[in-house]
Symmetry: C2
Subunit: 261 residues, 2 copies
């Protein structure tokens, strides 16, 4: 239904621009033609309650029936979104749950997980790459970036809306949940030691592969088999998103290259 | 030699904060303990003319003889660098050349190249990952990010100072140079068509592998064999840095996994 812009709506958007406001709000924001297009094609489309679109927007989006639509000027849209350049469209939706038990049992062949990955750009890039690699699950521990912060959604191209995200207090809790779901192997990536990810046969065999944050790595006391990415350049360790990408596409390679190791 | 902060030095730093100023300047800036440490361990260390360090900095850097040293307060350092948080140290050095003929012939087994990759974060991440994968060459076409912009240096962890960067007007010029250096295979990554990068036997056989920018891809008229990264998720195409990472570590995998394909 086409409605007018109200003070209540403006307040809601202002609130979502701060980290503190986001913590209290049951909503999240998705911006831009590309991200909103993905969102509207995902199961989360039915949670969209409001679309704010620029008068200049010429893309024919279809909104769910439950969704109100507001048309505003480009300037106004920019102010509402808090980004430097207007992206033509903003969607407001109920924040999906990240509670582990709120979804059906995971069906992925293996699980990619991140431990305390605080950088929103890296967090989003890993989500996007996991989705491209064909996964539907993404697990993370507390201390990671807010999975529904605007910057994470931009970096992931809204991949989180077509995946199941599960947040755990720590690696122990994550591992216990994995075992209950019959993911029996638990691998921790390590820049310095462990079996090569290219040689480890069990790496994707009902397993969880954990990527640490660049700042902290994975705590040395954590239980699990170490795997490493060989690095002939002997340079600084890889960025977390690059490490995750290598693991994710080693899985794709084994799937698609006819089972050759 | 320990010297005082002069207006000339302040002007020089102010100039390097704008894109326009950087274009005119024969210098570039490297910031932060981690990046400056890499730089001072690289062949480019001898080009460093000035180090500005915080009075609080406790890392024992060794500077080349030719380098003047200025000690300033944290506040002052932050103003000079233009970043939000002071990183303790700033180095000023002569901008390395990116002219293709200014270096010895390339010795890498294959060459990674990017075409008009404008995003500084992606550009820097690819440099860092290429260096980690053991390469020493990095080629790019005009229209890419400034390889010595502060943001690129931060993202690459100063990898460019221990590599040979060569810039070309366009892909034709790049290819001609490659042929003169006996890199005879020319591959263009493509999100939609081509042989799988995991199956292509000649991918690293005296070849150049070109990664396109996310915004433009590679122009469809460009000559070369297309290779693609299989993407079971059927999601948006991969970020350029992720695509480059997959190609670079497919090379590492073939090197380290005992020649298994």
């Amino acid at each position: 239904m086409l409605i007018g812009l109200t003070h209540r709506i403006e307040r809601q958007f202002a609130e979502l621009q701060s980290r503190h406001g986001r913590k209290k709000s049951p909503f999240c924001l998705c911006e831009g033609v590309r991200c909103c297009g993905e969102l509207l094609n995902s199961p989360a489309a039915s949670s969209v309650t409001l679309a704010v679109i620029s008068e200049k927007l010429r893309c024919g989006f279809e909104f769910p029936e439950s969704c109100d639509v507001v048309q505003v000027s480009d300037d106004k849209l920019q102010k509402l979104s808090g980004t430097v350049t207007s992206q033509g469209i903003l969607l407001l939706l109920r924040r999906p749950s990240v509670r582990p038990e709120d979804f059906p049992a995971p069906a992925d062949p293996f699980i990619i997980a991140v431990d305390q990955l605080g950088d929103p750009g890296n967090f989003g890039t890993i989500l996007r790459t996991a989705r491209a690699a064909g996964l539907r699950e993404f697990w993370f521990t507390a201390g990671s970036a807010d999975a529904y912060a605007p910057k994470v959604i931009r970096s992931s191209l809204a991949a989180q809306f077509s995946m199941q995200l599960r947040e755990f207090a720590d690696l122990d809790e994550l591992r216990q949940f994995a075992e209950r779901c019959n993911y029996k192997n638990f691998f921790l990536t390590d820049p310095h030691c462990g079996e090569s990810c290219f040689e480890c046969e069990a790496l994707f065999d009902r397993s969880v592969v954990v990527i640490g944050s660049e700042a902290h790595g994975i705590e040395s006391s954590a239980a699990g088999s170490r795997v490493t990415i060989p690095m002939p350049g002997n340079f600084e360790s890889l960025n977390a998103a690059q490490a995750a990408t290598i693991v994710l596409f080693e899985h794709v390679r084994r799937l698609t290259a006819g089972g050759k190791k």
